[in-house]
């Protein structure tokens, strides 16, 4: 039952406590400086990175060097590029060596056209990595049955997609997300597809524990300003969730002001 700590509104994933409910990706930024400034503006505490082979000609532009110097940020390597469970497990072990962090975003999407996560390979990789002690955070289809299976094998969180990676199509899976939230006993993080801060706010309002964004910030007109906007939206959405939304009416209006005997009777 690590869903939340109500006193401080911190949330706990894999035994690690965080206050920020916005996770940031580091891909697609035009340069390292913009990326670092955006991460700072987002106030994210979990930041995803990817793993690649070193080219034959060493590259001078170290995108991630400055990130490692920032305090209070946990680097979470992903397994992007893995086409199956065994490749993802290998990537996770390498990522742990490089980041010194037990966190791993298991990400297995064999089809480059839609980049939909492979549920079977994701499940297999998650099961093995969780048993090895990783804090496993699987990028997954918004499927409540799979969500329960992933929870049962020891995942630290669930990361269902809102819509396809980088598509900016928002919370297309909202009804499935509601079903996942209904039963989840571990944090639920909407990962992928978000475009606007209002979508992030909506995810938090409906009870998601956090959201992960990358393209929405990196491909924005002003990435640093957009990161700050997402930070505010996530906070507003979370605050609204805690405050409790009013009941939704049917098709009829319910007046907020007295309507009868306008001006002819004394107010009640």
């Amino acid at each position: 039952m690590e869903r939340q700590d109500k006193a401080q509104d911190a949330w706990v994933v894999g035994g690690h406590r965080f206050s920020s409910r916005l996770l940031m990706g580091t891909g697609k930024f035009q340069d390292a400086e913009t990326m670092v400034r955006a991460v700072l503006a987002s106030r994210a505490q979990i930041v995803t990175v990817a793993l690649r082979r070193v080219g034959r000609i060493p590259r001078e532009d170290d995108m991630l060097g400055p990130l490692g110097e920032l305090k209070g940020i946990t680097l979470m390597p992903n397994t992007s590029g893995a086409r199956n469970a065994s490749e993802a497990i290998r990537a996770a072990r390498l990522g742990r060596e490089l980041c010194g962090s037990p966190f791993v975003k298991v990400e297995i999407h064999p089809n480059p056209h839609h980049l939909m996560p492979d549920p079977i390979e994701t499940f297999e990789a998650a099961k093995i990595l969780a048993a090895e002690g990783f804090v496993v955070m699987p990028y997954m289809p918004a499927d409540p049955v799979l969500a329960k299976r992933l929870e049962d094998v020891g995942c630290a969180s669930l990361m269902p997609l809102g819509s396809a990676i980088g598509s900016g199509r928002g919370l297309a899976t909202v009804e499935m997300l509601r079903l996942i939230l209904r039963d989840a006993r571990i944090p639920v993080i909407v990962d992928a597809g978000l475009r606007s801060p209002s979508e992030a706010a909506a995810a938090l309002e409906m009870g998601c524990d956090a959201v992960l964004v990358n393209s929405a910030v990196a491909a924005a007109g002003d990435p640093v300003a957009m990161a700050a906007a997402f930070a505010q939206a996530v906070k507003a959405g979370r605050d609204a969730h805690r405050a409790g939304l009013m009941p939704q009416g049917g098709g009829t209006a319910l007046a907020t002001s007295p309507l009868t005997a306008f001006l002819s009777e004394e107010g009640q």
Binding site: G25, G27, R53
Partner: protein
Amino acid sequence: MKLIVNGEAYEAKRHESVSALLEEMGIGGRPVVVVLNDEVIPSSSRSACGLREGDCVELFRLVGGG
């Protein structure tokens, strides 16, 4: 000494250790993870870990990703 580095043939002049190879390749001191014949070599073991003819070396680094 002939090695396979990241899937390609590589003629190493310095092969007394993994650390020496990284220096030769210009990536000494950079944050990379070294896999030697499918086994991760912790950074603390690199200077003591020697190389043999035909060894398969893979080098990975962190890049931006979502």
